[in-house]
C-alpha cells in the first residue's frame, strides 16, 4: 500500500476557550477507502469533521491534501479540494424543490435565467446516483426526513467529491434506505472516492468500512480494521466493556393489569383501525418502515394530534381526543421523535427543561415552585447520570444522549407511568443508549408500561417484550419477543419495496 492519502489530519489539536476538544489526533482518508470515525457523543468527532470541511481551523498540527500541507480557511476552500460533507443536521431549503436544492448555488443558466429543463435533468442524474426516484419538482419540505437526507446525499455526490464526509447519514434511514446508501458508497469506492464515515450503528462498520479510527475524549485511541468485533470496538470507544447492548429484564411473571388500551384508533390518511393493549411492566415495540404511521399513532395517543374514531384509555379511563394535558394527568409521558425540534427548549437550562411538564402542577397560586423544582431536577439528573457542569447550563451544550435523558427525566419528575417513546436512542451513543435501556427497565420494574417506536431493528428485538409491526398505517402483525427475528419483522413491515413512497 503505497497509495498516498487524499487528506490527512496530522497531530491536530483544537481548543475552545479553555476546553481542549481535540488533542493530537491523526487520521487519514485514502482513495477508494471508507475510514470510519468512532467515538461517543462529545468525543470530538464533529470537531474533527469540521476541520476537514473548513469550518474550524486546527490550533495545532497540520492538514495535508494530496500530501501537501494546506489550510482550509473556509468551506468553499474545502469544496474546491473536492471535499463534500453531509451534515447530521439537514441543510436544505424546505420551500424549494428537490431539483433546486440539489443544484443550489450552481443552478444552470441560459441567458442569465435559470434553465429549468437543464436543472431538472442534472438533478435527476444526481438522484439516479443513489437510485432515488422522486418528482424533482416536489418541495423538499413535503418529503419525510429520510428522503430529505437522501436528497442531501445526492446533492453532495453531484459535486464530484473526492472526499466525502458522512456524518451519521444512516441515523434516520430505514434498513432498505441504508442498504441503498451503502450500495452507492461501494460504487463510489470503486471510483476511488475516499470517505470519512460516522455512525452509531456498530453493525454498519464491518459492512461498509475499511479502517476504524477510535477517539475518546478528544484523544486518538486506536486505529483498527473494520472487521474488529463489535465488543472490542465498544470497549475501545467507551474505555470499558459493556456486557450487554440490550439489557432487557422482563418480569418473569407478567402482570395482568392492563394500563394502556387503544381501540380501533383511526386517523384518515395516517393510520387505520389500530387496537392494542399494554400491560404494567411491559415494553411494547412498534416496528415498521418510515412512513408506516408509527409516529402519527404515538402522537395521537399522547394527545398531540387529533384522530377521527376509536379511543385511548389509561387504566380504564377514556382520554379526550387531542388533549395533551389530560393525557399527562392520566400518566402518559411522550418522548418525541425529534429531540431538538419537539423535545427540548434548547436555549433554556437543564433545570427548566426537566420541569416543563410539572411547571403548573407544582405551582402554588400561579407562582412557580423554584426550590422544589431545583431539588427534583437535581435528584433526577443524578439518578439518570446526566453529565453536565451545572443544572443551569443551557441544554443545547449537552451531548445528544444526555439531552435525551433529560427528556426522560421530565416524565420521571411528572411520575408518568405510561411512556410513549419515539426513536428513543436516535443520535445517542452506545454508552448512553445502555443507560436509557436500563432506565426503561427500571420504569417497567416499577409497574410502568412502555410503548417504543424504533427504526433500529436490533433495539426493537432486544428491548421489546412484544412487537407490533405496522405497514401502511395498519397493524400488519404481532410477534412475541421469542418469535421475532429481523426477517420475520421485515417480512411483515415491507410491502412491495419499489412502491415505497
Amino acid at each position: 500500500m503505497t497509495v498516498n492519502p487524499l487528506i490527512t489530519l496530522r497531530n491536530v489539536t483544537k481548543t475552545f476557550g479553555q476546553v481542549t476538544v481535540i488533542q493530537d489526533v491523526t487520521v487519514s482518508v485514502y482513495p477508494g477507502q471508507v475510514q470510519v470515525l468512532l467515538g461517543e457523543n462529545g468525543a470530538g468527532k464533529s470537531t474533527l469533521i469540521k476541520m476537514v470541511a473548513g469550518v474550524y481551523q486546527p490550533d495545532g498540527g497540520q492538514i495535508l491534501v494530496d500530501g501537501t500541507v494546506t489550510t482550509l480557511p473556509t468551506t468553499k476552500a474545502a469544496e474546491e479540494h473536492g471535499i463534500a460533507t453531509i451534515h447530521q443536521e439537514l441543510n436544505l431549503v424546505a420551500t424549494m424543490s428537490v431539483a433546486e436544492n440539489v443544484m443550489l448555488g450552481r443552478m444552470p443558466t441560459k441567458f442569465g435565467m435559470v434553465d429549468r429543463k437543464e436543472l431538472r435533468r442534472q438533478a435527476r442524474a444526481a438522484l439516479a446516483l443513489i437510485g432515488l426516484e422522486i418528482d424533482v419538482d416536489t418541495p423538499v419540505g413535503r418529503l419525510g426526513i429520510a428522503r430529505q437526507q437522501l436528497v442531501e446525499i445526492a446533492k453532495a455526490l453531484s459535486i464530484n467529491a473526492r472526499v466525502l464526509i458522512l456524518d451519521e447519514p444512516t441515523a434516520a434511514l430505514t434498513r432498505h434506505e441504508t442498504q441503498a446508501l451503502f450500495a452507492v458508497m461501494a460504487d463510489l469506492r470503486r471510483r476511488g472516492v475516499g470517505m470519512l464515515f460516522i455512525s452509531h450503528h456498530l453493525d454498519e462498520i464491518a459492512e461498509v468500512g475499511d479502517t476504524v479510527t477510535v477517539i475518546r475524549d478528544g484523544h486518538f485511541i486506536a486505529e483498527v480494521p473494520a472487521s474488529t468485533p463489535e465488543d472490542e470496538l465498544v470497549k475501545l470507544m467507551v474505555g470499558r466493556s459493556i456486557e450487554d447492548q440490550f439489557p432487557r429484564r422482563a418480569d418473569e411473571t407478567p402482570a395482568v393489569t392492563e394500563v394502556l388500551a387503544v381501540s380501533n384508533l383511526t386517523s384518515a390518511g395516517r393510520f387505520d383501525d389500530i387496537s392494542f393493549t399494554v400491560r404494567a411492566g411491559e415494553v411494547l415495540g412498534i416496528a415498521g418502515l418510515v412512513g408506516a404511521g408509527r409516529t402519527e399513532l404515538i402522537r395521537a395517543i399522547a394527545g398531540a394530534d387529533k384522530y377521527d374514531t376509536g379511543s385511548v384509555a389509561v387504566r380504564g379511563t377514556k382520554l379526550p381526543k387531542g388533549d395533551i394535558q389530560a393525557a399527562i394527568r392520566a400518566g402518559i409521558g411522550h418522548v418525541p421523535e425529534d429531540r431538538k425540534g419537539q423535545g427540548l427548549v434548547l436555549d433554556a437550562s437543564v433545570n427548566d427543561n426537566l420541569g416543563y411538564a410539572t411547571l403548573a402542577s407544582s405551582a402554588k397560586l400561579g407562582l412557580a415552585d423554584f426550590t422544589g423544582q431545583r431539588t427534583r431536577a437535581e435528584a433526577v439528573a443524578a439518578k439518570l447520570r446526566i453529565r453536565m457542569h451545572t443544572i443551569d447550563q443551557p441544554i443545547r451544550s449537552l451531548s445528544g444522549g444526555n439531552q435525551q435523558k433529560a427528556v426522560f427525566g421530565r416524565w420521571i419528575i411528572a411520575a408518568s407511568t405510561v411512556l410513549l417513546l419515539d426513536e428513543p436512542t436516535r443520535g445517542v451513543d452506545v454508552g448512553a443508549k445502555v443507560e436509557i435501556y436500563e432506565l426503561m427497565n427500571s420504569i417497567t420494574a416499577a409497574g410502568g408500561a412502555i410503548v417504543m417506536v424504533s427504526s433500529e431493528l436490533p433495539e426493537i428485538l432486544g428491548m421489546s417484550d412484544r412487537i407490533l409491526v405496522m405497514r401502511d398505517g395498519r397493524l400488519a402483525g404481532e410477534l412475541s419477543a421469542a418469535d421475532a427475528t429481523q426477517d420475520t419483522v421485515m417480512t411483515l413491515a415491507a410491502r412491495d419495496v419499489a412502491a415505497q413512497r
Binding site: 398531540a304 395533551i324 419537539q342
Partner: protein, 328 residues
Amino acid sequence: MSTTTTTPSTETPTRRSFDYKTFLANNGALVGLVVLCIALVIATPDFLTGQNLLNIGIQVSTVAVLAFGMTFVIVAGGIDLSVGAVAALSAMASGWFFVSAGLPGWMALIGGLVVGLAAGVINGAANAYGKLPSFIATLAMLSVARGLTLVISDGRPIKTAPEVSFLGGNIGPVPMPIVILVLAAVVASFILNRTVLGRSMYAVGGNAEAARLSGLPVKRIIVTVFALAGLFAALAGLLLAGRLDSAQPQAAAGYELDAIAAVVIGGASLSGGLGKISGTFIGALVLVVIRNGLNLLNVSSFWQQVVIGLVIALAVGADVLRRKTRNS
C-alpha cells in the same frame, strides 16, 4: 462540544482575572448607558440637573411601560406592532367614558385599561386560534385601533378624567409617572420571573412545540401574553394622556417601534425565549437619554433619528456577537 465530566478540575481554572469580555458582552446596554451618561455630563452642564433627570424619568415611563408589555410578547416569540395605537385608543376611550358616557372618573380609568386588555386578547386570539402571524394580527390591530381612536374623538382631543390626570401629576416632588414606572417594572419582572405564566413564556418562545408536548397550554399562554401587552399599553396611554390632561388622537404614534427597540437593545432575541425586564428598562433609558442629550446639545430632531437608528443596529450587532461567543 460539551465536556461530559463533572470532575473538580474543571472548576479550578475558572477562578481567574475579571473577564471583561464576557461582562461587556452580557451587559453591553448597561455599559453603553453609563458611557453615554458620563459623556453627556462632560458635554453639557444641563444634563445632570434635578429637573432634567425628572424629565428623563417622565419620558422614559411611557416608553418603558409599553416596552415591558412588549417584552412578554417578544420573549414568547411574537411581536406586537399595535401597542402605540392601543395606548392611544385606551386613553381616548377613557376620555370618552368620562366626558360623553358620563362615567365616574375611576370607572373611566379602569374602562381605559379594559379596552387595552380587550385589544390584546383579540391580538392573542387571532394569533393563537386564528393562526395569523403575530406581525399581521397586530399590524391589523394597529390600523383598527388608530382608526377607532379617530372615530371616537372625531379627530379632536378629549379631556381626561381627574383620576387619569392624577397619573400625570406629582406626589410631593416625585412625578406620578415615575412611581407608576417603578410599580410596572416590579409587577412585570415578578410575572416574568416568578410565575408559571412567565416561565411558560420563555418555553413557548424558545420552542413552542416542545412546550406544547410537555403539556403547557400554549394557546392560552399566547392570549394572556398579548392581553398583558394590551394592558401595559393602555397604562402607558393613560400616563401620556394624564400628563397632557387630554387624550390626543395621534398620541403614541410610532411608539411601538421605540418599544421594540428598547426590548432588543435590552438583550432580548426577536426569535423568542430570551429577554429580561431589567434589560428592557435599560434599553428604554438608552433611547430616552440619547434623545434628551441630543436635545440639550441642540442637535436637530432629524439627526436624532439617524443616531437612534445606528444605536439599534449597534445593539443588535452586539447581540449577535454575544450569541456567537455563547454557542462556541
